[in-house]
Structure formats: structure tokens, C-alpha cells
Symmetry: C2
Subunit: 177 residues, 2 copies
């Protein structure tokens, strides 16, 4: 067993390579993002958002964007951004998407661990997920396992296309650990 | 005692007239907003935000902006906007500023009651305050009195210029009452 190279993590899917995303990656990311956006089940994003709108949201608004590759193929992406300016600027927000075909293989975990490291390196003191939909049980379990606490519960704050009005959680982790 | 006219509320300051804001009001609003922004004690806004930045934030980004007048003089302002798109779009956010000279006279209460009515009329089902700084005791007491519940507490999420890292609350009210 060798020590993972910098920038690589051992996922259950095998080697996961995480690198900064470039504008050219969006052609690959868009089908993954579109799938999540159109479903409207996990993110509070307009399900009809255009490709250009998704580009602005995912590639332009954040401070840093990454892709995760398994066997050289992009299977996931995440961003890091400052959650609020001014007195709130020491807290970052991050968002994660895993390609449907690559789910259940530890990719989200590898991306979140890397996001925490990157956020620490940028000087952030905490990471906040503003809106984790209650029906998104896999995400909640993973964030909890990674040390994120549920610090808020927004009653009926999300209209799920099938479940109707459901709660959303605010989850939070101090990063100085 | 006469019934208050539509658009007017009885504040302790006397008649409060609340009306939609126009671009021309910003010349009056800017000193009020600047005072709050520069202080950096209650809003997670860059304390150095420019006048143009404040215009974009307060007058352009929200869905609706209002001013509150006492004796014909603008003493307060608030906005209403959709808190999150997509499945979160039935929840609005609002922000309030009272001129320093007009504080303690019930203006914020009058504005919040009006904001709730306006939000209901726009079809929103709930109002969420994303970030109420723990040291802002007056605001917390008022929102609680008006039926807002503390549904989240963000640990050390705000860097107060004097108190250092303090918590912020997420406060929330369902509007179908």
C-alpha cells in the first residue's frame, strides 16, 4: 500500500483525483449539473435554469471550483465560496454534485474532505451548508459522519416535487479541528 | 380614534406611512444604510461597500423595496426578496434599517408587520431572517415578539467589530397565521 499522492484520495471507486476546474470542464459538468437541477429534489435552484445560468452559478459565482476524476473521467464537482461578506466572511459555503453513474462509491466523501482542506488553506474558519433538504438522507448522513452538525431546521422551507413541503437543515462545521 | 388609513400604522412615533421606494429615494436612504453598513455590527455586509454597491444590494437585488415616513420624513426602509429559488421560492427574506435618530419608536415593528402583509400578498408562505447577529438584542426581541422563531443558531458565524466572534440566529415565521 502506497501513500496517496497529493491531490489523490483512495475512494471505494479507486483513485479519485481532484483538481481545480477550468472553463473547458463545463461541457462535461453541464449534463451532471443539469440532471440534479432538472430533478429539483436536492438543491433550491430553478429547475428550468439554463446552461448559461448554471455556468454563472457554478463556475463564476464561487471562489473556487473543482472536479473529481475517477480513472481520468470527471465524475463529480464541488465549489467553495464565501457564505456571507463582511462579518460573516470567515465562513464558507460549498456545494457538491456527483454524476448519477458514480454515486455510492465514496466520491462525495472524498470531495468534502478535500473541500475542508482547501477551505482551511484559504483561511476559512467554518463551513456552512445553508439548505440540506430533509429528504436527501444520504447527504445528511454523510455530512453528519464528517462532523457537520445540524444547527438549524427550516420548517417546510423546500417544496419537493414528490414529497411536497419538507424541512431543510442548516449544517455547520468548525474547521479548526 | 379613527381607523388607520390603508398604508398607515400607528407607531409610538405617531403616524407611520409606508410606501414603495423609488430610485429617487436612495439619496435619502444612503446615509441611513451607510451608517449601518460602516458600523458592521448587525449585517453581514462588507463595511466598505460603496454607494453603488449599496444601491445594487438594497434597491436592485430585492423584489420590492419600501420606505417608512414619519411626519413626511423617511426614517426607515425595508426590502422583500425571494430567499432561495426553485423549491425554496415560497420563503421570502426581508431586511430592515431604521435611521439612528428614529430608533426606539416602534418603526421596525410597523415595518415588519407591513412586510408580512406585503409578503403574504405576493404569495409567500414564510419569512426567513438568515442571519440575526446575537448581539443585536433589540432585533431578536422584536422578531420574537412578532412570532419569529429561532430555528437555527450559527456558532461564531459573525465577527463583531468589538465583541469578536459571536453567534448568529436563523429566525423564521410561517405566514399563514
Amino acid at each position: 500500500m502506497s501513500t496517496p499522492e497529493p491531490g489523490r484520495e483512495e475512494g471505494r471507486a479507486g483513485r479519485v483525483a481532484i483538481r481545480a476546474a477550468g472553463a473547458a470542464d463545463f461541457a462535461t459538468l453541464w449534463p451532471m449539473l443539469r440532471c440534479v437541477i432538472r430533478a429539483g429534489e436536492t438543491y433550491a435552484i430553478d429547475p428550468g435554469l439554463s446552461r448559461a445560468g448554471a455556468y454563472a452559478l457554478w463556475m463564476e459565482a464561487p471562489r473556487a471550483i473543482y472536479v473529481a476524476e475517477v480513472a481520468g473521467e470527471i465524475c463529480g464537482t464541488f465549489y467553495i465560496k464565501t457564505n456571507l461578506p463582511g462579518g460573516g466572511a470567515h465562513v464558507c459555503n460549498a456545494g457538491f454534485v456527483v454524476a448519477e453513474r458514480a454515486r455510492g462509491q465514496g466520491l462525495a466523501r472524498a470531495m468534502c474532505l478535500r473541500a475542508e482542506d482547501e477551505a482551511r488553506a484559504m483561511g476559512y474558519l467554518a463551513m456552512q451548508f445553508n439548505f440540506v433538504v430533509e429528504t436527501n438522507r444520504g447527504a445528511i448522513a454523510l455530512w453528519q459522519d464528517l462532523g457537520f452538525e445540524t444547527v438549524g431546521r427550516l420548517p417546510r422551507a423546500f417544496r419537493h416535487p414528490e414529497a411536497g413541503l419538507v424541512d431543510a437543515r442548516v449544517m455547520y462545521k468548525w474547521l479548526d479541528g
